[in-house]
Amino acid sequence: MRNIVIYTIIALSLFQCKSRNSSHSVSTISSIQPTNGELIGNKLDDIDKKQEEFGMTLEFDVIEKLTLDLNGDNQEDIIEIERIRQWIDPGDFHRITIKISGKKKTEFLNTSGWVAVGDYETQFVKGFVSNTVISSKYVSLQQASENDMLLFCFGYTYASQPGLLSIINLLKQDGPKLIFNDNYHLYKFEDINNDGAKDITVTTADMDGPKEKSMLSVYELINGWFFKKLDQ
């Protein structure tokens, strides 16, 4: 009887180990197939909290206004690039206000500052600036798929980290959404999984490029959200 109990415990333990291993292997097969996505990275600033922290009311000047029909309804949609008035800290602009016809106005605030799109920000992706849907000094608008129009903004480079790579999907059903916001250089913007949507590859490496594959991370654009590719 005692032997039976011992053998049962051993058998159960082995079964448990096997189950754990198999579930682990499943999770590394490929990307997580998403149903609902979420922001990759960190939230942007909340204006009320920032005003409380600074002890001042933030006022903004529109420094660039982009007008185009984003959703094909023959109505004007507007993207306003704004700078905090009399701001003395880094950043060429700090707020993006997007008004898409039929949708609620949406604002995105970054008091640490975004910068004008330049060679440094797009150092790894040739032609990224010229491929923009609409000409802008500050942002780059990219058609990622039939249903995804992505607004790329590049943060000021603090410390020894890349600046923020902020990506807003303008055509989400319930209005523009921030889908990516983390300290990375954009390394590639191309359809990796051949699903018709352009994906992003990002890195923290310097201009001379990543020295090894582990310095690259791939995020696939699926249903308007980014999902980290796990078997890269």
Binding site: F54, I88, P90, S112, Y120, T157, S160, P162, M207
Partner: protein, 282 residues
């Protein structure tokens, strides 16, 4: 190396006279050629309080003073600087120069965008101190070293600019548990206004990612002061004199010349491992 001590002349010391006056230096009040000198002996050279001038060139002039006469005493600013040995001061100007040299060196070697904050700080630190304490460390390593070393003490942010303007060597740093940390050298100048830093930020040299500047507000180095610590160096300092590095000890072969008389015999100068904070405001 054994060096013969040279005395300019035998001072006539009377018991009642305190000859160690200005800055604690010995007053040379004996007569030379029938004239009362009343100069102060600073070791490497003599200071004439009547003129506010040295009587001979700064032996460490090669360290570059740019706009200042090598005969001037502490850049004509005795309220700010002190020159305890009559040698080049490790002061605000030296920090400014070292910062510019470090930016130039890093840019030349690594270009203008890669993250090299540790190399910039270490280059300036070595130039100012002769110490290799921060060599071969990344930014996180430099912060950890400054945390643990007896040669550093932390300074409050609101004291940083004043101390650096007075010649203190202060490194700002923030370690990161993931990714690389960051370091910058505080440099002399005017604090800048910064909302993100809670009002104002000290100025610093930075050779970090996409940064190559010798003086800019630290609000351009970190998005906020949260987690940034300031480490003041309190260890032995060093400099060069006649192209020889010193960090305390005896400097050989320093010729001392006075008007009308040239002392050709090299005069040994003993430098007692000066600390930067000793070379601050008198």
């Amino acid at each position: 190396m054994e060096c013969a001590q040279h005395t300019v002349s035998e001072p006539k010391i009377t018991l009642s006279a305190n000859k160690y006056l200005f800055n604690g230096k010995e007053l040379q009040d004996e007569q030379l050629g029938g004239i009362n000198l009343d100069w102060y002996d600073y070791g490497a050279r003599f200071y004439d309080p009547a003129l506010g001038r040295w009587h001979n060139i700064d032996p460490a002039i090669e360290n570059a003073h740019y706009d200042y006469s090598p005969y001037a005493y502490v850049y004509n600013n005795p309220l700010r600087f002190l020159d305890p040995f009559g040698l080049d001061s490790i002061d605000a100007q030296a920090i400014t120069t070292a910062a510019q040299n470090a930016v130039n060196a890093v840019t030349e070697t690594y270009g203008s965008t890669s993250a090299q904050c540790n190399r910039g700080v270490n280059t300036a630190f070595e130039e100012l101190t002769g110490s290799e304490e921060l060599s071969d460390l990344d930014a996180n390593g430099i912060v950890n070293q400054m945390e643990e070393s007896d040669n550093f003490e932390t300074v409050e942010q609101d004291k940083v600019q004043t101390e650096v303007d007075d010649g203190a060597l202060i490194v700002a740093g923030k370690a990161e548990s993931s990714g690389s940390g960051h370091v910058a050298l505080a440099v002399p100048g005017d604090e800048v206004s910064s909302t993100n830093w809670g009002g104002s930020a000290p100025v610093g040299m930075d050779t970090g990612k996409n940064k190559r500047w010798s003086s800019k507000g630290m609000n351009y180095s970190w998005s906020s002061s949260t987690g940034v610590a300031f480490y003041k160096y309190t260890g032995p300092s060093a400099g060069t004199i006649n192209n020889q590095t010193y960090s305390g000890g005896t400097i050989p072969a320093v010729s001392v010349t006075a008007p009308g008389t040239t002392y050709t015999q090299p005069q040994a100068v003993t430098v007692p491992a000066p600390r930067i904070d000793r070379i601050n405001r008198p």
